[in-house]
Amino acid sequence: MTSVVQSAPGEIYDIELDENLKRANDLIADENRGLLRKHGVRAIDVMGSVGSGKTSLIEQLVPLLRGRYRIAAFKGDLTSEIDSERLASLGIQTVQINTGRECHLDANLVRKALGKIDLNTLDIILIENVGNLICPADFPLGSDKRVVVISVTEGPYMVVKHPFIFADADVAVINKIDLARPMGVDTSALSNDVRAVNSKTSVVLTNCRTGEGVDKVAAALGFKSGS
């Protein structure tokens, strides 16, 4: 004989859900990574504070690398095409990603941008994230490496106040070193802070207006400069 158990109205049930709300972005990031690998394209996620010199870094990297590599750039911003025009004037293919109100790029936006370009004609994509030292840390894009750009004009405590962004950073760029003295900021203390937070992160000091140190950024990312 089979006994049947049924729910009665008003009974309480526990339902195991195990729903990971970050999985949606992480899955698309993995897809992006797979797609880029398949085409032999290396993508670099350039994160950093507002006005720290992310676009300037890309402007300096492109002439150094273009002899050996075919380069495109994605430029994330809330709105406008100001920076993507700056990058397009270098003669590289550029996709502007306007997030509207979101303060970071996500894997889905990057997937859409990847659909706009021919990956067979590229070796490197430089992805400039929205200026923000907080939120991009929570949203992997599927890039090969992550760079964080900070600058001395933001003061001496940028690293210890924003440690999470360095958790996945392969390279930390400390920019505007020509202004360190007038700002009274000790760049070696900032470098030590990065190492204290994550010893895996290589630290490079730059002046992205003159290009000083940018060759070391390229080397830290595993690229060869020149032709």
């Binding site: 049930y13 195991e16 729903e19 709300l21 303060c103 907080i134 929570d138 210890v160 360095f166 937070v197």
Partner: protein, 123 residues
Amino acid sequence: MHEFSRTSQIVEAVLSEAQKQDAKEVTEVEVEIGDLTFLGLEQVEFAYKILTDKTIAKNSKLKIKEIHGRGKCESCSYDGPLSYLSDPQFHISFPTFNCPKCEKPLSITAGRECIIRRIRIRK
């Protein structure tokens, strides 16, 4: 930072599961949130209250379990909680992603979660 949008994802998932189960009421929701995410727990609770108002989860209890950051050392055998550095001059305490034993980089194994573990419903 993204408490409202994450919490609306939580509420949406809870209500859709509740509907699937023909629930009359959602009485409890259990979530796990890692302390390496940028989700402030008080703000999640606040957003949850607003977002569940006028739904069958209106009177539900949101139980948040905070998951502390952990890492596994790539060089030595360490597998445990992250350590924190502090600067008493500025009342700053910040995590380090270096191994507390050998100072080599850790790979993060916990602390980035945002998971709905379980919901309790009344049919």
